[in-house]
Amino acid sequence: MSLAIQMNDVSKRYAHFQLSSLDLSLETGRIMGFIGPNGAGKSSTLRILMGLIAPDSGSVRVLGQPIPAGETRAKKDIGFASEDMRLYGHATLDWHMRFVRSVFPQWDAAYADKLLKSFDLVREQTIKGMSHGQRVKSQLLLVLARRPRLLLLDEPTTGLDPVARSEVLDELLDVLLDDDRSVLFSSHNTADVEQICDQITFIDRGRLVTTDDKETFIENWRRVRFEVPAELDISGLPTVVTCRQDGSVGNLVLNADDPTAAERIRSAGGTVTATERMNLEEIFVAAVKSNRLEDAA
């Protein structure tokens, strides 16, 4: 199993924020959704992977290269696009294409032309004359036409209208047909991540909350609605992530399909009124809240 990304015990301290002991790995050919609230540390993590920020401690390898020592070798095969990255406003998209082509010999001109059409972009248009969606798509065109082995995408769909978002995600899905290409896709939009990613990592307040296959998350996490005559005792139930109870009615969020939770409800004289699967956003919110409660405790 080769790893496109390997971060071991990486920490980075700022005045009001800290990335703490981050362990993150991405297998070659996988697409990881990197989900966290604003300010969770997603951009800092991606910048460390790009060698744009030096970690205080820990080790980083990207595409087999140690970062920052092998930064330039790794960056030849990394396509990086971020929400706070801009192109040159007074230059045309064509100028940018020629510039990137002059730097990357592997530039695929035919694919760039295809992307121009599918993204509905005009070569001769200046960047400052483009809409936000067109600018994001231009950025992605410049990244994708290089045919990088690893894509690091920092909130690429933020601020896009539904049509532009769909165009971008469709193109990313096409890219991902190549088994050797890996993607780390950061976002706080779980719907986008759910659509294209096969592996999910949640980050909050600079710490990894949990990481797993998307299917495992969707298959395992459950919301169990219940009614019990008295307060439900959830001690000794390791799969319970959160428990909310208002009077006799409540619900449990479980991170595994665990029958012992239902047995505990029944043994307390209660009934399970419903067992529901959760979508990724609900799982994300529950995981983050639970993590914060643990921190507070």
Binding site: A54, P68, T72, K76, A81, M85, R86, L87, V103
Partner: protein, 223 residues
């Protein structure tokens, strides 16, 4: 310097090519006014020439260094296969070459005009070289501060102080006995004072570049 660093330099130059040619044209007009040698026109020419050289430096630094951070194009450049130090090197070398070419062209033209004009004493040449050298050193200081501080505010402070300092510097140099004594003479006289000042200016430029590299190499975060 690798191929990508040169591509980055050429990119900066291509963005500034138009304005720089315009400045050189204005500089040529200023030098022609100096060559006429008549009092008011001569002084106006000097002021315009000095202003043009200062503006070339400011435009180069703000257009290629400060704007990259302000307009958020820095992440785009740093996503290319270069290290931050290679990026810094391209900025320093690109700016130095761009400014040097313009400065050298205007300086040589100015000195040729002084040497060839009947109205201007050749004794003025060391003074002119010293003042033009100070403009180069001021540019190097602005470039260093802009790169190291990454702050538009600090760059503007340095720019303002340097601009105010030009007339003070000219007066101070002109009042030095070793310079003043030969300024109005028909012959160019290079003495220990004038050579020393030019050497100090060159050394200051070299030190500023070296310190800039050193401070950049100690940075851990580039965005």
């Amino acid at each position: 310097m690798n191929r990508i660093e040169w591509q980055m330099i050429l990119k900066d130059w291509s963005f500034m090519r138009g304005p720089m040619l315009g400045y050189l044209g204005l500089g040529a007009i200023a030098i022609a006014m100096i060559g006429l040698g008549r009092n008011m026109v001569f002084y106006a020419g000097v002021i315009i020439l000095v202003s043009i050289i200062v503006i070339i430096g400011i435009h180069a630094v703000f257009g290629s260094v400060m704007s990259e951070r302000k307009n958020q194009t820095l992440p785009f450049m740093l996503s290319l296969p270069v290290t931050f130090l290679q990026y810094t090197r391209s900025k320093i070398l690109g700016n130095l070459l761009l400014f040097s070419m313009s400065w050298l062209a205007l300086t040589v033209a100015t000195l040729l005009v002084i040497a060839g004009s009947e109205h201007i004493p050749n004794g003025l040449i060391p003074f002119a070289v010293i003042v033009l050298g100070e403009l180069f050193a001021a540019f190097a200081l602005l470039l260093a501060i802009a790169i190291v501080s990454e702050s538009e505010v600090w760059a503007i402070v340095v720019m303002t102080v340097c601009n105010i300092g030009i007339s003070i510097f000219m007066n101070a140099i002109g009042s030095l006995p070793a310079i003043n004594a030969t300024m109005s003479g028909p012959v160019t006289v290079w003495n220990i004072t004038s050579v020393g000042i030019v050497a100090a200016e060159a050394a200051l430029v070299a030190v500023l570049i070296a310190v800039t590299f050193y401070l950049q190499s100690r940075k851990a975060d580039y965005l």
